[in-house]
Protein backbone atom coordinates (compact mmCIF):
# COMPACT_ATOMS: atom_id res chain seq x y z
CA UNK A 1 0.00 0.00 0.00
CA UNK A 2 2.70 2.40 1.00
CA UNK A 3 4.81 1.62 -1.98
CA UNK A 4 1.87 2.18 -4.31
CA UNK A 5 1.27 5.71 -3.19
CA UNK A 6 4.94 6.58 -3.26
CA UNK A 7 5.41 5.14 -6.73
CA UNK A 8 2.25 6.67 -8.12
CA UNK A 9 3.26 10.07 -6.82
CA UNK A 10 6.72 9.95 -8.31
CA UNK A 11 5.30 8.57 -11.54
CA UNK A 12 2.74 11.37 -11.85
CA UNK A 13 5.38 13.98 -11.16
CA UNK A 14 7.68 12.61 -13.81
CA UNK A 15 4.76 12.32 -16.24
CA UNK A 16 3.85 15.94 -15.72
CA UNK A 17 7.42 17.08 -16.17
CA UNK A 18 7.60 15.14 -19.44
CA UNK A 19 4.33 16.70 -20.62
CA UNK A 20 5.55 20.21 -19.83
CA UNK A 21 8.83 19.58 -21.61
CA UNK A 22 7.00 18.36 -24.69
CA UNK A 23 4.75 21.43 -24.64
CA UNK A 24 7.68 23.81 -24.56
CA UNK A 25 10.08 21.97 -26.82
CA UNK A 26 7.92 20.40 -29.54
CA UNK A 27 7.02 23.65 -31.34
CA UNK A 28 10.70 24.52 -31.70
CA UNK A 29 11.44 21.02 -32.92
CA UNK A 30 8.87 21.15 -35.69
CA UNK A 31 9.25 24.77 -36.71
CA UNK A 32 10.96 25.66 -39.95
CA UNK A 33 11.90 29.18 -38.85
CA UNK A 34 11.24 30.76 -42.19
CA UNK A 35 10.65 34.37 -41.23
CA UNK A 36 8.79 36.24 -43.92
CA UNK A 37 6.87 39.47 -43.96
CA UNK A 38 3.74 37.81 -42.74
CA UNK A 39 5.33 36.61 -39.52
CA UNK A 40 6.74 40.08 -38.86
CA UNK A 41 3.39 41.67 -39.55
CA UNK A 42 1.77 39.20 -37.17
CA UNK A 43 4.38 39.85 -34.49
CA UNK A 44 3.82 43.60 -34.65
CA UNK A 45 0.08 43.05 -34.55
CA UNK A 46 0.29 40.79 -31.51
CA UNK A 47 2.54 43.27 -29.75
CA UNK A 48 0.20 46.18 -30.42
CA UNK A 49 -2.80 44.15 -29.31
CA UNK A 50 -0.99 43.39 -26.07
CA UNK A 51 -0.34 47.07 -25.40
CA UNK A 52 -3.75 48.42 -26.33
CA UNK A 53 -5.75 45.75 -24.56
CA UNK A 54 -3.58 46.32 -21.49
CA UNK A 55 -4.41 50.04 -21.65
CA UNK A 56 -8.15 49.56 -22.05
CA UNK A 57 -8.54 46.66 -19.66
CA UNK A 58 -6.11 48.22 -17.22
CA UNK A 59 -7.84 51.59 -16.97
CA UNK A 60 -11.19 49.96 -16.34
CA UNK A 61 -9.84 47.40 -13.90
CA UNK A 62 -7.72 49.79 -11.88
CA UNK A 63 -10.63 52.18 -11.46
CA UNK A 64 -13.01 49.42 -10.49
CA UNK A 65 -10.54 47.86 -8.07
CA UNK A 66 -9.79 51.19 -6.39
CA UNK A 67 -13.49 51.92 -6.16
CA UNK A 68 -14.26 48.52 -4.70
CA UNK A 69 -11.50 48.58 -2.10
CA UNK A 70 -11.34 52.21 -1.05
CA UNK A 71 -14.59 53.93 -1.89
CA UNK A 72 -17.13 51.26 -1.37
CA UNK A 73 -18.35 50.91 2.17
CA UNK A 74 -20.16 47.62 1.85
CA UNK A 75 -17.76 45.94 -0.60
CA UNK A 76 -20.59 45.38 -3.01
CA UNK A 77 -21.03 41.72 -3.47
CA UNK A 78 -23.07 42.20 -6.60
CA UNK A 79 -20.17 43.81 -8.44
CA UNK A 80 -17.79 41.09 -7.31
CA UNK A 81 -20.19 38.37 -8.36
CA UNK A 82 -20.71 39.90 -11.79
CA UNK A 83 -16.98 40.24 -12.30
CA UNK A 84 -16.31 36.69 -11.31
CA UNK A 85 -19.02 35.48 -13.67
CA UNK A 86 -17.65 37.50 -16.53
CA UNK A 87 -14.27 35.91 -15.95
CA UNK A 88 -15.91 32.68 -16.98
CA UNK A 89 -17.44 33.87 -20.25
CA UNK A 90 -15.90 31.88 -23.10
CA UNK A 91 -13.78 34.08 -25.31
CA UNK A 92 -15.85 33.31 -28.40
CA UNK A 93 -18.95 34.84 -26.86
CA UNK A 94 -17.00 37.97 -25.97
CA UNK A 95 -15.85 38.06 -29.58
CA UNK A 96 -19.48 37.92 -30.70
CA UNK A 97 -20.41 40.74 -28.37
CA UNK A 98 -17.42 42.75 -29.56
CA UNK A 99 -18.43 42.22 -33.18
CA UNK A 100 -21.99 43.31 -32.70
CA UNK A 101 -21.24 46.19 -30.40
CA UNK A 102 -17.97 47.68 -31.55
CA UNK A 103 -17.79 46.66 -35.19
CA UNK A 104 -21.41 47.05 -36.17
CA UNK A 105 -23.27 49.22 -33.69
CA UNK A 106 -20.44 51.69 -33.05
CA UNK A 107 -19.35 51.50 -36.69
CA UNK A 108 -15.71 51.11 -35.83
CA UNK A 109 -15.40 48.39 -38.43
CA UNK A 110 -13.00 45.51 -38.14
CA UNK A 111 -9.91 47.12 -36.70
CA UNK A 112 -7.29 47.08 -33.98
CA UNK A 113 -9.46 49.32 -31.82
CA UNK A 114 -12.44 46.96 -31.82
CA UNK A 115 -10.24 44.00 -31.04
CA UNK A 116 -8.34 45.73 -28.25
CA UNK A 117 -11.57 46.91 -26.67
CA UNK A 118 -12.95 43.38 -26.81
CA UNK A 119 -9.75 41.88 -25.42
CA UNK A 120 -9.68 44.62 -22.79
CA UNK A 121 -13.07 43.42 -21.61
CA UNK A 122 -11.78 39.86 -21.63
CA UNK A 123 -8.80 40.56 -19.38
CA UNK A 124 -10.61 43.10 -17.18
CA UNK A 125 -11.94 40.56 -14.63
CA UNK A 126 -8.52 39.00 -14.12
CA UNK A 127 -6.77 42.29 -13.55
CA UNK A 128 -9.52 43.50 -11.24
CA UNK A 129 -9.49 40.44 -9.01
CA UNK A 130 -5.71 40.40 -8.70
CA UNK A 131 -5.60 44.15 -8.03
CA UNK A 132 -8.13 43.83 -5.25
CA UNK A 133 -5.95 41.18 -3.70
CA UNK A 134 -2.94 43.46 -4.05
CA UNK A 135 -4.68 46.49 -2.55
CA UNK A 136 -5.98 44.40 0.32
CA UNK A 137 -2.45 43.48 1.23
CA UNK A 138 -1.38 47.07 1.73
CA UNK A 139 -1.08 47.39 5.44
CA UNK A 140 -4.25 48.53 7.11
CA UNK A 141 -2.11 50.54 9.49
CA UNK A 142 -0.87 52.82 6.76
CA UNK A 143 -4.39 53.53 5.60
CA UNK A 144 -5.70 54.17 9.07
CA UNK A 145 -2.78 56.45 9.86
CA UNK A 146 -3.31 58.55 6.78
CA UNK A 147 -7.03 58.86 7.46
CA UNK A 148 -6.37 59.95 10.98
CA UNK A 149 -3.95 62.56 9.70
CA UNK A 150 -6.79 64.03 7.68
CA UNK A 151 -5.44 63.67 4.17
CA UNK A 152 -7.91 63.17 1.39
CA UNK A 153 -8.43 59.74 -0.03
CA UNK A 154 -7.08 60.82 -3.35
CA UNK A 155 -3.84 62.09 -1.84
CA UNK A 156 -3.45 58.80 -0.01
CA UNK A 157 -3.95 56.92 -3.24
CA UNK A 158 -1.36 58.84 -5.16
CA UNK A 159 1.30 59.17 -2.52
CA UNK A 160 0.85 56.00 -0.55
CA UNK A 161 -0.90 53.17 -2.34
CA UNK A 162 0.51 53.77 -5.77
CA UNK A 163 4.24 53.74 -4.89
CA UNK A 164 3.81 50.66 -2.75
CA UNK A 165 1.86 48.71 -5.34
CA UNK A 166 3.57 50.01 -8.43
CA UNK A 167 5.57 46.90 -9.20
CA UNK A 168 2.71 44.57 -8.47
CA UNK A 169 0.31 46.55 -10.66
CA UNK A 170 2.72 46.53 -13.59
CA UNK A 171 3.28 42.83 -13.08
CA UNK A 172 -0.44 42.08 -13.12
CA UNK A 173 -0.97 44.24 -16.20
CA UNK A 174 1.85 42.52 -18.03
CA UNK A 175 0.58 39.06 -17.21
CA UNK A 176 -2.89 40.04 -18.37
CA UNK A 177 -1.59 41.43 -21.64
CA UNK A 178 0.27 38.16 -22.16
CA UNK A 179 -3.08 36.45 -21.80
CA UNK A 180 -4.64 38.84 -24.32
CA UNK A 181 -1.85 38.27 -26.81
CA UNK A 182 -2.59 34.58 -26.90
CA UNK A 183 -6.33 34.86 -27.41
CA UNK A 184 -7.69 33.92 -30.80
CA UNK A 185 -11.45 33.65 -30.68
CA UNK A 186 -12.24 37.31 -29.89
CA UNK A 187 -10.07 38.70 -32.66
CA UNK A 188 -11.37 36.45 -35.44
CA UNK A 189 -14.54 38.47 -35.83
CA UNK A 190 -13.29 41.85 -34.69
CA UNK A 191 -10.28 42.56 -36.78
CA UNK A 192 -7.78 39.81 -37.50
CA UNK A 193 -6.94 39.17 -41.13
CA UNK A 194 -5.14 36.49 -43.01
CA UNK A 195 -2.80 38.55 -45.19
CA UNK A 196 -2.05 42.21 -44.95
CA UNK A 197 0.08 44.74 -43.23
CA UNK A 198 -0.58 45.73 -39.65
CA UNK A 199 -1.34 49.43 -39.69
CA UNK A 200 -2.72 51.92 -37.24
CA UNK A 201 -5.48 51.80 -34.73
CA UNK A 202 -8.36 51.85 -37.16
CA UNK A 203 -7.00 49.27 -39.55
CA UNK A 204 -7.33 45.48 -39.41
CA UNK A 205 -4.23 43.60 -38.39
CA UNK A 206 -2.45 40.29 -38.44
CA UNK A 207 -1.83 38.46 -35.20
CA UNK A 208 0.24 35.41 -34.31
CA UNK A 209 -2.53 33.24 -32.75
CA UNK A 210 -4.87 33.84 -35.68
CA UNK A 211 -1.97 33.19 -38.05
CA UNK A 212 -1.32 29.85 -36.37
CA UNK A 213 -5.00 28.94 -36.63
CA UNK A 214 -5.24 29.87 -40.30
CA UNK A 215 -2.04 28.06 -41.26
CA UNK A 216 -3.33 24.90 -39.62
CA UNK A 217 -6.99 24.95 -40.60
CA UNK A 218 -6.36 26.00 -44.19
CA UNK A 219 -3.72 23.33 -44.41
CA UNK A 220 -1.18 25.80 -45.71
CA UNK A 221 1.85 24.95 -43.67
CA UNK A 222 1.99 23.11 -40.38
CA UNK A 223 5.69 23.89 -40.05
CA UNK A 224 4.94 27.56 -40.49
CA UNK A 225 2.34 27.27 -37.77
CA UNK A 226 4.96 25.84 -35.47
CA UNK A 227 7.31 28.71 -36.30
CA UNK A 228 4.64 31.20 -35.35
CA UNK A 229 3.92 29.13 -32.22
CA UNK A 230 7.55 29.22 -31.17
CA UNK A 231 7.67 32.98 -31.51
CA UNK A 232 4.42 33.45 -29.66
CA UNK A 233 5.57 31.10 -26.88
CA UNK A 234 8.76 33.08 -26.43
CA UNK A 235 6.87 36.38 -26.31
CA UNK A 236 4.27 35.19 -23.82
CA UNK A 237 6.63 33.24 -21.59
CA UNK A 238 9.09 36.10 -21.37
CA UNK A 239 6.25 38.28 -20.19
CA UNK A 240 5.04 35.74 -17.68
CA UNK A 241 8.37 34.96 -16.12
CA UNK A 242 10.42 38.03 -16.69
CA UNK A 243 7.97 40.80 -15.91
CA UNK A 244 8.47 40.95 -12.17
CA UNK A 245 12.23 40.80 -12.37
CA UNK A 246 12.43 43.48 -15.03
CA UNK A 247 10.20 45.85 -13.12
CA UNK A 248 12.02 45.31 -9.85
CA UNK A 249 15.22 46.07 -11.65
CA UNK A 250 13.86 49.26 -13.23
CA UNK A 251 12.31 50.53 -10.00
CA UNK A 252 15.46 49.83 -8.01
CA UNK A 253 17.48 51.57 -10.65
CA UNK A 254 15.25 54.65 -10.35
CA UNK A 255 15.44 54.54 -6.58
CA UNK A 256 19.20 54.37 -6.62
CA UNK A 257 19.55 57.23 -9.04
CA UNK A 258 17.15 59.35 -6.98
CA UNK A 259 19.10 58.66 -3.82
CA UNK A 260 22.36 59.64 -5.43
CA UNK A 261 20.77 62.91 -6.60
CA UNK A 262 19.71 63.74 -3.05
CA UNK A 263 23.25 63.27 -1.85
Amino acid sequence: MEKIIKNLSYFSLILLIIIVSILFIYPFYRADFILDNKIFSAMIGTFEIGIFSMIFGGILAISTAIYNVFYCKKRKKVLSAIIRCSAGIPSILLGLFGYHFFVIKMSLGRCMLSSSLTLGIMIFPYIEIELERCFDEVSKDLIDMSESLGVSKEYMLVKLIFPVCRVEILNILTLASGFAMGATAPIILTGAIMYGRTGGLMKPFMALPYHIYILTSEGISVEGAFTASSILLVMVLLLNLGAKKIFNFIINFQKNSRMSKVK
Binding site: E2, T64, V158, T216, L232
Partner: protein, 280 residues
Amino acid sequence: MKFIKWTIYFFTGISFIILLFIVLDTFMEGTKLFRYYSIHDFILGEKWHPLKNIVGILPFILSTLYTGFIAVLISLPISVFVSIALVFYVKYNNKLMMTVFRTMTGIPSVIYGLIGFAIIVQGFEKKLNMTSGETIIGGGILLSIMVIPYSLSAIFETIRKLDKKYIEISKSMGVSKEYYICKLILPKSIYGIISGMILSFGRAVGETMAVIMLIGNSKIMPSLFSKGETLSGLIALEMGSAEIESFHYYALSSAGFFLIIILISIGFLFEYFLKRNQVV
Protein backbone atom coordinates in the same frame (compact mmCIF):
# COMPACT_ATOMS: atom_id res chain seq x y z
CA MET B 1 -7.17 66.13 -6.68
CA LYS B 2 -10.91 65.81 -6.75
CA PHE B 3 -10.90 64.97 -10.40
CA ILE B 4 -9.13 61.73 -9.57
CA LYS B 5 -12.21 60.70 -7.66
CA TRP B 6 -14.49 61.52 -10.54
CA THR B 7 -12.22 59.76 -13.05
CA ILE B 8 -12.37 56.63 -10.94
CA TYR B 9 -16.12 56.84 -10.58
CA PHE B 10 -16.42 57.42 -14.33
CA PHE B 11 -14.39 54.43 -15.42
CA THR B 12 -15.91 52.17 -12.81
CA GLY B 13 -19.29 53.22 -14.09
CA ILE B 14 -18.23 52.38 -17.63
CA SER B 15 -17.04 48.90 -16.62
CA PHE B 16 -20.28 48.31 -14.82
CA ILE B 17 -22.28 49.45 -17.84
CA ILE B 18 -20.28 47.30 -20.24
CA LEU B 19 -20.68 44.23 -18.08
CA LEU B 20 -24.38 44.94 -17.78
CA PHE B 21 -24.60 45.31 -21.56
CA ILE B 22 -22.93 41.96 -22.06
CA VAL B 23 -25.27 40.25 -19.64
CA LEU B 24 -28.38 41.86 -21.10
CA ASP B 25 -27.28 41.39 -24.70
CA THR B 26 -26.55 37.70 -24.20
CA PHE B 27 -29.80 37.17 -22.35
CA MET B 28 -31.95 39.01 -24.86
CA GLU B 29 -30.36 37.65 -28.02
CA GLY B 30 -30.16 34.22 -26.47
CA THR B 31 -33.82 33.91 -25.70
CA LYS B 32 -35.31 35.44 -28.84
CA LEU B 33 -35.26 32.04 -30.51
CA PHE B 34 -37.63 30.60 -27.98
CA ARG B 35 -40.48 32.79 -29.08
CA TYR B 36 -41.10 30.49 -31.98
CA TYR B 37 -39.05 27.40 -31.28
CA SER B 38 -39.66 25.21 -28.30
CA ILE B 39 -36.92 24.97 -25.67
CA HIS B 40 -37.56 21.28 -25.39
CA ASP B 41 -36.87 20.69 -29.09
CA PHE B 42 -33.82 22.88 -28.92
CA ILE B 43 -32.12 21.18 -26.01
CA LEU B 44 -33.09 17.64 -26.81
CA GLY B 45 -33.07 17.85 -30.59
CA GLU B 46 -30.49 15.71 -32.30
CA LYS B 47 -30.33 17.36 -35.70
CA TRP B 48 -28.71 20.67 -36.50
CA HIS B 49 -29.87 21.96 -39.90
CA PRO B 50 -30.32 25.70 -39.47
CA LEU B 51 -31.00 26.23 -43.14
CA LYS B 52 -34.03 24.01 -42.78
CA ASN B 53 -35.01 25.62 -39.49
CA ILE B 54 -34.28 22.52 -37.46
CA VAL B 55 -31.91 23.25 -34.59
CA GLY B 56 -31.18 20.81 -31.82
CA ILE B 57 -28.11 21.10 -29.65
CA LEU B 58 -28.09 17.74 -27.90
CA PRO B 59 -25.08 16.41 -29.85
CA PHE B 60 -23.10 19.49 -28.89
CA ILE B 61 -24.09 19.39 -25.24
CA LEU B 62 -23.03 15.75 -25.11
CA SER B 63 -19.71 16.42 -26.86
CA THR B 64 -19.00 19.29 -24.48
CA LEU B 65 -19.86 17.20 -21.42
CA TYR B 66 -17.98 14.12 -22.62
CA THR B 67 -14.78 16.04 -23.28
CA GLY B 68 -15.16 17.86 -19.98
CA PHE B 69 -15.61 14.67 -18.01
CA ILE B 70 -12.70 12.95 -19.71
CA ALA B 71 -10.55 16.00 -19.02
CA VAL B 72 -11.37 15.95 -15.33
CA LEU B 73 -11.09 12.18 -15.07
CA ILE B 74 -7.57 12.24 -16.39
CA SER B 75 -6.31 15.45 -14.84
CA LEU B 76 -7.65 14.92 -11.34
CA PRO B 77 -5.58 11.89 -10.30
CA ILE B 78 -2.52 13.48 -11.86
CA SER B 79 -3.07 16.69 -9.91
CA VAL B 80 -3.64 14.82 -6.66
CA PHE B 81 -0.58 12.61 -6.97
CA VAL B 82 1.68 15.40 -8.15
CA SER B 83 0.56 17.48 -5.16
CA ILE B 84 1.34 14.59 -2.84
CA ALA B 85 4.72 14.16 -4.50
CA LEU B 86 5.54 17.86 -4.17
CA VAL B 87 4.38 18.22 -0.58
CA PHE B 88 5.67 15.00 0.90
CA TYR B 89 8.41 13.58 -1.21
CA VAL B 90 10.18 16.34 -3.09
CA LYS B 91 10.24 19.09 -0.57
CA TYR B 92 13.15 21.18 -1.69
CA ASN B 93 12.31 22.54 -5.07
CA ASN B 94 8.57 22.41 -4.96
CA LYS B 95 8.03 26.14 -5.28
CA LEU B 96 10.16 26.22 -8.39
CA MET B 97 8.31 23.29 -9.86
CA MET B 98 4.95 24.85 -9.11
CA THR B 99 6.03 28.00 -10.91
CA VAL B 100 6.97 25.95 -13.94
CA PHE B 101 3.67 24.12 -13.86
CA ARG B 102 1.80 27.35 -13.49
CA THR B 103 3.31 28.67 -16.69
CA MET B 104 1.23 26.06 -18.47
CA THR B 105 -1.72 28.39 -18.00
CA GLY B 106 0.13 31.03 -19.96
CA ILE B 107 0.39 28.95 -23.11
CA PRO B 108 -2.17 30.20 -25.65
CA SER B 109 -4.86 27.70 -26.49
CA VAL B 110 -4.12 27.63 -30.24
CA ILE B 111 -0.67 26.31 -29.46
CA TYR B 112 -2.22 23.54 -27.36
CA GLY B 113 -4.53 22.82 -30.27
CA LEU B 114 -1.68 22.72 -32.74
CA ILE B 115 0.47 20.40 -30.62
CA GLY B 116 -2.56 18.23 -29.91
CA PHE B 117 -3.34 18.05 -33.60
CA ALA B 118 0.20 17.14 -34.52
CA ILE B 119 0.71 14.57 -31.78
CA ILE B 120 -2.69 13.16 -30.86
CA VAL B 121 -4.56 13.15 -34.16
CA GLN B 122 -1.67 12.03 -36.27
CA GLY B 123 -0.59 9.65 -33.54
CA PHE B 124 -3.98 7.96 -33.60
CA GLU B 125 -3.89 7.70 -37.36
CA LYS B 126 -0.42 6.26 -37.58
CA LYS B 127 0.02 4.19 -34.42
CA LEU B 128 -3.51 2.98 -33.84
CA ASN B 129 -4.22 2.71 -37.54
CA MET B 130 -7.46 4.59 -37.26
CA THR B 131 -9.06 5.91 -40.39
CA SER B 132 -9.48 9.31 -38.85
CA GLY B 133 -7.60 10.53 -35.84
CA GLU B 134 -10.10 13.13 -34.75
CA THR B 135 -11.97 11.78 -31.74
CA ILE B 136 -13.76 12.85 -28.62
CA ILE B 137 -11.23 11.07 -26.47
CA GLY B 138 -8.42 12.92 -28.23
CA GLY B 139 -10.09 16.18 -27.39
CA GLY B 140 -10.55 15.02 -23.81
CA ILE B 141 -6.88 14.13 -23.46
CA LEU B 142 -5.76 17.52 -24.74
CA LEU B 143 -8.20 19.33 -22.46
CA SER B 144 -6.98 17.30 -19.50
CA ILE B 145 -3.46 18.58 -20.09
CA MET B 146 -4.75 22.13 -20.37
CA VAL B 147 -6.64 22.03 -17.08
CA ILE B 148 -4.02 20.26 -14.96
CA PRO B 149 -2.44 23.51 -13.73
CA TYR B 150 -5.79 24.79 -12.45
CA SER B 151 -6.68 21.81 -10.30
CA LEU B 152 -3.02 21.34 -9.38
CA SER B 153 -2.84 24.84 -7.88
CA ALA B 154 -5.97 24.38 -5.83
CA ILE B 155 -5.15 20.88 -4.58
CA PHE B 156 -1.50 21.71 -3.86
CA GLU B 157 -2.51 24.65 -1.68
CA THR B 158 -5.06 22.55 0.19
CA ILE B 159 -2.69 19.69 0.88
CA ARG B 160 0.14 22.02 1.85
CA LYS B 161 -1.97 23.80 4.43
CA LEU B 162 -3.27 20.55 5.84
CA ASP B 163 0.23 19.20 6.06
CA LYS B 164 1.41 22.25 8.01
CA LYS B 165 -1.47 21.80 10.38
CA TYR B 166 -1.14 18.10 11.07
CA ILE B 167 2.50 17.18 10.50
CA GLU B 168 3.62 17.62 14.09
CA ILE B 169 0.70 15.65 15.46
CA SER B 170 1.22 12.71 13.19
CA LYS B 171 4.98 12.68 13.75
CA SER B 172 4.40 12.47 17.46
CA MET B 173 2.03 9.58 16.88
CA GLY B 174 4.69 7.74 14.93
CA VAL B 175 2.60 6.67 11.97
CA SER B 176 4.14 6.01 8.59
CA LYS B 177 4.04 8.73 5.98
CA GLU B 178 1.73 6.83 3.72
CA TYR B 179 -0.68 6.03 6.49
CA TYR B 180 -0.70 9.73 7.35
CA ILE B 181 -1.45 10.63 3.76
CA CYS B 182 -4.18 8.07 3.24
CA LYS B 183 -6.04 8.30 6.45
CA LEU B 184 -5.65 11.93 7.39
CA ILE B 185 -4.69 14.29 4.60
CA LEU B 186 -6.70 12.86 1.74
CA PRO B 187 -10.04 12.59 3.49
CA LYS B 188 -9.66 16.13 4.82
CA SER B 189 -8.71 17.54 1.47
CA ILE B 190 -11.78 16.20 -0.26
CA TYR B 191 -13.38 19.61 -0.53
CA GLY B 192 -10.25 21.11 -1.99
CA ILE B 193 -10.12 18.31 -4.50
CA ILE B 194 -13.75 18.79 -5.44
CA SER B 195 -13.33 22.52 -5.92
CA GLY B 196 -10.24 21.89 -8.06
CA MET B 197 -12.31 19.43 -10.04
CA ILE B 198 -15.12 21.90 -10.62
CA LEU B 199 -12.70 24.68 -11.55
CA SER B 200 -11.02 22.52 -14.16
CA PHE B 201 -14.33 21.25 -15.50
CA GLY B 202 -15.50 24.81 -16.01
CA ARG B 203 -12.29 25.68 -17.78
CA ALA B 204 -12.58 22.63 -20.03
CA VAL B 205 -16.18 23.37 -20.97
CA GLY B 206 -15.37 26.96 -21.92
CA GLU B 207 -12.39 26.16 -24.11
CA THR B 208 -12.91 26.84 -27.78
CA MET B 209 -9.91 27.00 -30.07
CA ALA B 210 -7.86 24.02 -28.95
CA VAL B 211 -10.74 21.60 -29.24
CA ILE B 212 -11.83 22.75 -32.71
CA MET B 213 -8.51 21.75 -34.12
CA LEU B 214 -8.67 18.12 -33.15
CA ILE B 215 -12.21 16.97 -32.70
CA GLY B 216 -13.39 16.65 -36.27
CA ASN B 217 -16.40 18.94 -35.96
CA SER B 218 -19.09 16.54 -37.07
CA LYS B 219 -22.59 17.31 -35.96
CA ILE B 220 -23.37 13.79 -34.86
CA MET B 221 -24.30 12.24 -31.55
CA PRO B 222 -20.86 11.59 -30.14
CA SER B 223 -19.30 8.47 -28.71
CA LEU B 224 -15.86 7.91 -27.28
CA PHE B 225 -14.02 7.30 -30.51
CA SER B 226 -16.22 9.25 -32.87
CA LYS B 227 -15.86 12.81 -33.98
CA GLY B 228 -17.92 15.45 -32.30
CA GLU B 229 -18.35 19.18 -31.90
CA THR B 230 -18.55 21.20 -28.73
CA LEU B 231 -20.97 24.04 -28.10
CA SER B 232 -18.19 26.60 -28.23
CA GLY B 233 -16.81 25.04 -31.39
CA LEU B 234 -20.23 25.21 -33.01
CA ILE B 235 -20.49 28.93 -32.33
CA ALA B 236 -16.93 29.66 -33.43
CA LEU B 237 -17.26 27.82 -36.73
CA GLU B 238 -20.72 28.93 -37.77
CA MET B 239 -20.78 32.53 -36.62
CA GLY B 240 -19.02 33.53 -39.79
CA SER B 241 -21.89 32.53 -42.00
CA ALA B 242 -24.90 33.54 -39.95
CA GLU B 243 -26.32 36.92 -40.81
CA ILE B 244 -27.40 39.11 -37.97
CA GLU B 245 -31.08 38.70 -37.12
CA SER B 246 -31.44 35.49 -39.07
CA PHE B 247 -32.78 32.25 -37.65
CA HIS B 248 -29.30 30.75 -37.75
CA TYR B 249 -27.91 33.67 -35.78
CA TYR B 250 -30.54 33.39 -33.06
CA ALA B 251 -29.99 29.65 -32.82
CA LEU B 252 -26.26 30.22 -32.30
CA SER B 253 -26.93 32.94 -29.73
CA SER B 254 -29.18 30.56 -27.84
CA ALA B 255 -26.49 27.89 -27.94
CA GLY B 256 -24.09 30.47 -26.47
CA PHE B 257 -26.63 31.44 -23.84
CA PHE B 258 -27.01 27.82 -22.87
CA LEU B 259 -23.25 27.45 -22.61
CA ILE B 260 -23.12 30.43 -20.27
CA ILE B 261 -25.81 28.91 -18.10
CA ILE B 262 -23.78 25.72 -17.80
CA LEU B 263 -20.70 27.74 -16.86
CA ILE B 264 -22.51 29.90 -14.31
CA SER B 265 -23.95 26.81 -12.63
CA ILE B 266 -20.47 25.35 -12.41
CA GLY B 267 -19.30 28.67 -10.99
CA PHE B 268 -21.92 28.60 -8.25
CA LEU B 269 -20.99 25.02 -7.39
CA PHE B 270 -17.40 26.17 -7.11
CA GLU B 271 -18.27 29.03 -4.77
CA TYR B 272 -20.29 26.66 -2.61
CA PHE B 273 -17.46 24.16 -2.23
CA LEU B 274 -14.94 26.92 -1.69
CA LYS B 275 -16.93 28.09 1.33
CA ARG B 276 -17.14 24.61 2.76
CA ASN B 277 -13.42 24.16 2.22
CA GLN B 278 -12.59 27.19 4.28
CA VAL B 279 -14.37 25.70 7.23
CA VAL B 280 -11.87 22.84 7.22
